[in-house]
């Protein structure tokens, strides 16, 4: 984990003005979360008043219960958990293998292939939606969770991220030792590479889970509201057939909570991962 440790640095020491500016910014950044709780716990009539209420009200649980009845939010939560879970497992495993190959193995075409893999990060996946949609219809998968999972089983960012991690974290001596001991390639991956890659895999897993949970464009096209992910259900919730803002906000709260909880528990590591993944530039 040392790779992700923030470097200590010298000259600048925060004064009161720095604290004040940072605190003000943090408040602005966190205000929408607070207001989400306020709006989710108030009856609609109060949310339509001016000035709007500034403190949480008593209706949080009844609004959440109503939201769970609307737009399949309950099913959407389960679906999103399945989709994000499968994508995370697959992405972490496949990206670790590819990242290990690019970081530590010598083979013909390594440089160009890695450049190609990184280059694909520049292509926004949303541009291929038309053929992707016909493909899923042809495979009979339109509307199913598989149509959302399949295109995201692996990610160029993850390959890049695991390569950067393993270049530093995995000493060549260990691989040499495994070779001297006569370990097969598979054995080396299992007993040497994976244990050392684990911290990097954990960070990549969290980032992947967040991205998959929040993915919007393709799921909105591929799925409909009878079998939605959380984001598809939220889009429908905002689509106007639920006039009660308190219920809309309660649904939003329920759909956001899992990721925010993960983030609050592991935010430090996620921050470290984003910083480490960015240093390539």
């Amino acid at each position: 984990m040392t790779v992700f440790a923030p470097r200590s640095h010298g000259l600048l020491v925060a004064g009161p003005r720095t604290y004040a500016a940072l605190t003000a910014t943090a408040l602005v950044f966190l205000l929408p979360f607070y207001y989400l709780v306020v709006a989710a716990s108030r009856p609609m009539a109060e949310m339509a008043q001016s000035p709007p209420p500034l403190t949480p009200g008593p209706l949080l649980f009844s609004n959440v219960a109503k939201a769970l009845d609307q737009q399949n939010i309950g099913l959407a939560l389960v679906n999103s958990l399945v989709v994000a879970g499968v994508i995370t497992l697959s992405t972490v495993l496949l990206c670790t293998l590819a990242g290990y190959a690019f970081a530590k193995l010598r083979f013909r075409g390594r440089g160009p292939l890695f450049a190609l893999a990184v280059g694909t990060m520049m292509i926004p996946p949303s541009l291929g939606v038309v053929p992707l949609y016909s493909l899923m219809v042809a495979l009979g998968l339109a509307g199913s969770l598989a149509s959302v999972v399949l295109p995201s089983l692996v990610a160029a960012f993850g390959v890049f991220f695991m390569r950067q991690y393993l270049v530093q974290a995995l000493p060549d001596e260990l691989l040499d030792a495994a070779k001297v001991d006569g370990a097969t390639a598979l054995r080396t991956v299992w007993s040497v590479v994976l244990p050392i890659a684990r911290p990097g895999m954990a960070v990549l897993g969290m980032l992947t889970f967040m991205t998959a949970w929040n993915d919007f464009f393709w799921p909105v096209i591929a799925l409909d509201t009878t079998n939605p992910t959380v984001q598809v259900a939220l889009a429908a919730l905002g689509g106007g057939y639920v006039p009660d803002t308190g219920v809309i906000m309660a649904g939003t709260l329920v759909g956001t909570l899992p990721v925010v909880v993960v983030f609050l528990l592991l935010g430090r590591q996620i921050v470290g991962g984003i910083v480490a993944g960015a240093v390539k530039a």
């Binding site: 929408p32 190959a101 193995l105 038309v130 919007f216 906000m249």
Partner: protein, 316 residues
């Protein structure tokens, strides 16, 4: 050791060992390709093939649920004579500028603040990144409430300082500013962390030398931090410009789920236009033409950016 090697070995064991080491060598040689194959196969199937097929489909009349017929460049002719396309292009550009420029400037300032030795460093970093953890849909639903005309918190706050309520949903610039503010809120912290990482890789010696030369804090920022961050800044510009060309969820949900982007298309981006053509009107061929034009724009953008970067490197 020498003793062991020089001892004669039975021929059978020798042969088996040779076979096994050949197997080993083959396994070792092919292993890297086996490890990278899933990435490239999946990318070929769900990334590259759809991209190329998009170009092919864009040459067809292709309605949702029916078969394709070849019509050459008709979709492009339709696109380039369509005022709605130019409107979407313009709105993508203006929302892109309104969201990207303040976002990166704020991120730069924020990274500078975070680059101090302080208490509560982790708290501030996590707080800045919290918006990044929320989804486009959730963020937009909350902001739509904050920006509501009659009972929104923002209009109320504006009223407190004596500004008349703004119709954030129907005004053209107002709606674009509201949508941009959602993007700014979600991405500023993320970019600040990337700048922070870049700042921490700048050598302390440079700052000490500048301080010895009598440079004040601003001059140090201007002449040490900014030049050191140049590659990072270029990276974030490319990434956020590509992101800005794809804006979709914010205007969709801000407009209550309608792909028109406001009654007059005040905030219809190219992403929304593509979705409207493909899945609301059902003209998948036209949607593919929009996607392919967007792709070419991104290619040009990335090329221009890397050419600029290379020229600056040579000049430096």
């Amino acid at each position: 050791m020498t003793l062991t090697l020089s001892r004669p070995e039975p021929a059978v064991v020798n042969g088996r060992r040779a076979r096994r080491s050949r197997l080993h060598a083959f396994e070792a040689r092919s292993a890297p390709y086996v490890y990278i194959a899933p990435f490239f196969l999946l990318f070929a199937a769900f990334g590259l093939f759809p991209l190329i097929d998009t170009a092919w489909i864009s040459l067809h009349r292709y309605r949702l649920g029916s078969s394709m017929s070849f019509i050459g460049l008709d979709n492009y002719a339709w696109l380039f004579t369509n005022p709605a396309f130019y409107n979407a292009l313009l709105k993508t550009f203006t929302i892109g500028v309104l969201s990207t420029v303040p976002q990166l400037l704020l991120a730069l300032g924020l990274a500078h603040l975070l680059n101090h030795r302080m208490r509560g460093r982790t708290f501030f970093r996590v707080a800045m990144l919290m918006p990044y953890a929320t989804s486009v849909a959730a963020a937009t639903l909350v902001f739509a409430q904050l920006f509501s005309r009659d009972a929104g918190l923002i209009n109320w706050l504006l009223g407190v300082v004596g500004v008349n309520p703004v119709d954030w949903r129907n005004g053209s610039w107002a709606a674009q500013i509201a949508i941009s503010s959602i993007i700014i809120w979600r991405w500023t912290g993320y970019n600040a962390l990337i700048y922070l990482a870049g700042m921490q890789s700048i050598s302390q010696d440079l700052y000490e030398a500048a301080a010895l030369d009598g440079a004040n804090a601003w001059q140090q920022f201007r002449h040490v931090t900014l030049p050191g961050l140049r590659p990072t800044i270029l990276f974030t510009i490319v990434v956020s410009t590509i992101g800005a060309s794809q804006v979709f969820g914010e205007p969709l949900i801000f407009g209550g789920g309608a792909a028109e982007g406001g009654a007059l298309g005040q905030y219809q981006t190219l992403g929304l236009f593509l979705y409207q053509q493909g899945w609301q009107i059902g003209q998948l061929g036209r949607a593919a033409a929009v996607a392919w034009v967007m792709f070419l724009m991104i290619v040009v953008l990335v090329l221009v950016n890397s050419a600029l970067a290379r020229r600056r490197e040579r000049a430096a």
